[in-house]
């Protein structure tokens, strides 16, 4: 390939494919052919760029030009204006939400400026279905180095000294986990498992890594297997991720053909192979003992630790379970050294963390930042601020196990310990931004509905406790709260936290406890005044039309899905409270603030 040949990288992640990035690829190839440009440019389908809210994304290299929301019809202009004419296609350049300027060089995009991509280093850079691309980016060199230059203990020491900790949420030091598994019954059959059952609603980094760079996970599993003395690996992956499964299978097949998996890897006596096991939609299977039972084909119920999987895991043998993002860091650490990694981050949390930024924020997507970055930087600099100019209210981190972070803690440097100290947690990295239109009681109820549904039912505190908490929250949002409810929620929450069997139950009350801590007034409003200031709790809302402000434009009547608004043109309209379903459409439609919530 000549060096001056341009590459047109098109995102082939799930999000962009659903908005027809396949059609873009097809049209680009056609346009290149019709214009006789195949010598000068090549179309490459790559993994996720992370900027999912702006998809489909096309990036032209080496020009570093980043096109957003591209449609198949734009292919003609990209080829004619950019590839042939050497000019930007202005209308599909990204508009920075802060400066309102179109960005010409991808490096100037605020979304990427503060990011430091380690786990996502190859996502959006290489063709995930072509092992040659991965090899060209130093792929499998780390495995070779380990097998031919380092002893098993040396590999473990590198990971230990790097300070890498579990990215699935637990934050347990990875090197230590490897060391314990290595020492456990050494010489016997052992297993390494990759936990790709990303069950946390609102997190999608593991999916993107597997879709965009599955080889780095395979390579890391092989490195771990060598260090710990395992010969078999299992990837436990959600059945809901068909594209990730497809790409992982291709990557495994290619790795086998190249001899990176199988017998006598790199001419050594190290043998290692991986098989895929499917999850089937159970959040609790993110807990390692439950996951192992599921891999064995049973109900995914956790068991008491000890024994830890490192002593007795899959088929009773020593087993190490690592999360996808944790593994994706490993080859980079081996190649660049532990100091390179531990220089990034804070005292106790080293390296970077990928967050899935979603909710009421301008720039939605995956962001990878050094540990110790503040929430303010993530929300305002990278995230481009709150959607629609609304007011920031809180960020929910750690999913159903986490809590909310308010304005007061926006400048906290994010790491495992700091998040715990303010009542939230790292979790797997879901980050949901909420604005003033979101009701915190309703959000807490959403999470409890999820956890009580996902509770496996094995232990009473979680099975019954989450159910009771959910019932109380449900009553509160329906205007049937009682004065003692808040105290009961706190007491129940503390009880469940201290007595549930596994991580699911022990953390399930967190969203409730943390919203009570920071937004107690909202709970009190719901209970004492039967009032929800956001209007999200439908049973507590009553929309009325202010006759002083209504000019009779009929906008509200036209959008009402149940036709409960009566009134003639240029006359005051009235809402029939009997028929109203409290959807809020009239409130959103009125340009004159004439529709009022109580």
């Amino acid at each position: 390939m000549s060096t001056n040949k341009r590459k047109i990288l098109v995102c082939g992640g799930t999000g962009c494919i659903s908005s027809d990035s396949e059609g873009i690829i097809k049209n680009l190839e056609l346009e290149l052919k019709n214009n006789g440009q195949e010598e000068n440019a090549q179309v490459v389908k790559v993994g996720c760029f992370g900027f999912c809210g702006q998809g489909p994304i096309v990036k032209v290299e080496p020009d570093n030009v980043f096109y957003v929301r591209v449609s198949p019809d734009d292919a003609k202009d990209i080829v004619e204006q950019h590839i042939i004419g050497g000019d930007y296609v202005e209308r599909i350049l990204f508009v920075d939400p802060l400066s309102n300027q179109r960005i010409h060089d991808y490096k100037d995009m605020s979304f990427y400026a503060k990011q430091h991509r380690v786990a996502l280093r190859n996502c959006g850079e290489i063709d995930p279905e072509n092992i040659e691309d991965y090899i060209a980016n130093k792929g499998y060199e780390a495995l070779k180095k380990c097998l031919t230059e380092y002893s098993r203990d040396e590999v473990i020491n590198i990971i230990k000294e790097s300070g890498l900790r579990g990215r699935g949420g637990g934050g347990f030091p990875t090197g230590l986990k490897w060391e314990i598994t290595k020492k456990s019954r050494d010489g016997e059959q052992k297993y390494v498992i990759c936990n790709a059952d990303e069950g946390d609603p609102g997190a999608f980094m593991d999916r993107s890594i597997l879709e965009g760079d599955a080889h780095s996970v395979i390579e890391a599993m092989a490195i771990g297997a060598y260090a710990m003395g395992a010969q078999n690996g299992v990837v436990y992956i959600r059945a809901e991720y068909p594209l990730a499964i497809h790409r992982l299978m291709i990557a495994m097949q290619q790795a086998k053909e190249k001899g990176f998996l199988g017998k006598n890897i790199f001419g050594t006596d190290f043998n290692f192979d991986i098989e895929i096991r499917y999850g089937a939609g159970a959040f609790v299977c993110g807990e390692e003992t439950a996951l192992i039972h599921s891999v064995e084909g049973h109900r995914g119920e956790p068991t008491v630790k000890p024994p830890f999987p490192s002593e007795s895991g899959l088929k009773g043998q020593p087993t190490c379970v690592n999360n996808v993002e944790t593994l994706a860091n490993v080859p980079a650490i081996i190649l660049n050294g532990s100091k390179w990694f531990s220089d990034i981050g804070t005292e106790k949390s080293k390296g970077t963390k990928v967050f899935a930024l979603a909710g009421k924020i301008n720039n939605i997507g995956l962001v990878e930042v050094p540990m110790g970055t503040t929430l303010r930087e993530i929300v305002y600099d990278i995230g481009g601020g709150i959607l629609g100019g609304h007011k920031f209210k809180a960020v929910q981190t750690g999913g159903p196990s986490g809590g909310v972070i308010t304005e007061a803690d926006l400048d906290t440097p994010i790491d495992y310990e700091s998040l715990k100290s303010i009542g939230s947690m790292m979790g797997s990295g879901g980050m949901i931004v909420l604005d003033e239109t979101d009701c915190m009681v309703n959000i807490a109820k959403f999470y409890l509905e999820f956890t009580q549904d996902e509770s496996c039912g094995k232990c009473t505190p979680c099975r019954v406790g989450t159910k009771r908490m959910y019932e109380i929250l449900d009553r509160i949002t329906k205007g049937q709260g009682k004065p003692e409810d808040i105290d009961n929620l706190l007491e129940l929450g503390e009880m469940i936290k201290s007595s549930a069997l596994c991580g699911l139950g022990q953390t399930a009350p967190n969203p409730v406890l943390s919203t009570i801590k920071y937004f107690r007034d909202e709970y009190e409003d719901h209970i004492n005044k039967h009032y929800c200031k956001t209007g999200k709790c439908k049973d507590l809302v009553k929309y009325t039309i202010d006759p002083e402000k209504c000019i009779g434009c009929t906008a509200c009547a036209r959008v009402c899905p149940v036709g409960c608004i009566a009134g003639e043109v240029k006359k005051v309209h009235v809402i029939d409270q009997e028929k109203c379903i409290k959807c809020g459409a009239c409130f959103d439609a009125c340009k004159f603030n004439a529709v009022v919530k109580p």
């Binding site: 659903s18 999912c52 946390d200 609603p201 089937a280 959040f283 599921s294 084909g297 909710g359 997507g365």
Partner: protein, 169 residues
Amino acid sequence: MEKSNIHEQTTSVKDLPQDLFDELRKYIDGLEDRKGSLINILHKAQSLFGFLPREVQLFIARELGIPGSQVFGVVSFYSYFTTKPTGKYTISLCMGTACFVKGADKVKFKLEEKLGVKFGETTPDGLFTLRDVRCVGACGLAPVVLVNEKVYGNVTENDVDRILSDYQE
């Protein structure tokens, strides 16, 4: 409380196509670790039959030499498996947090209203099944609706008619 049993909780369907059973048997026979692969086998069975009626669960149990109750225990544990027949098109609404805060509940209401069935049910003509799914990991496109495998992003209640019209027969 009445003790529920497998007969009350599973659908029985007689006269399922024999060739599908043959294909499932072939798949099972090709596995190294048959008992440990129960979940993979159930996935395969559900992709063949569309759902897991009692006859299919018992067939798998006999093939593996395990009690039917054990198979049913696994089927009922995981939300991905269904024991009810589904419509030609399954409309899955993502209920992840990002979709929730972006108003997935309005889409849910609209879908139920348009199709006249609740979530978890199938329309009488057998065309659509409504179900809510766990986060599908396309949070950048919230709210997300899937029709079988096709993903629709940034769906508002106003898009529901347009989406359904793609599949009206």
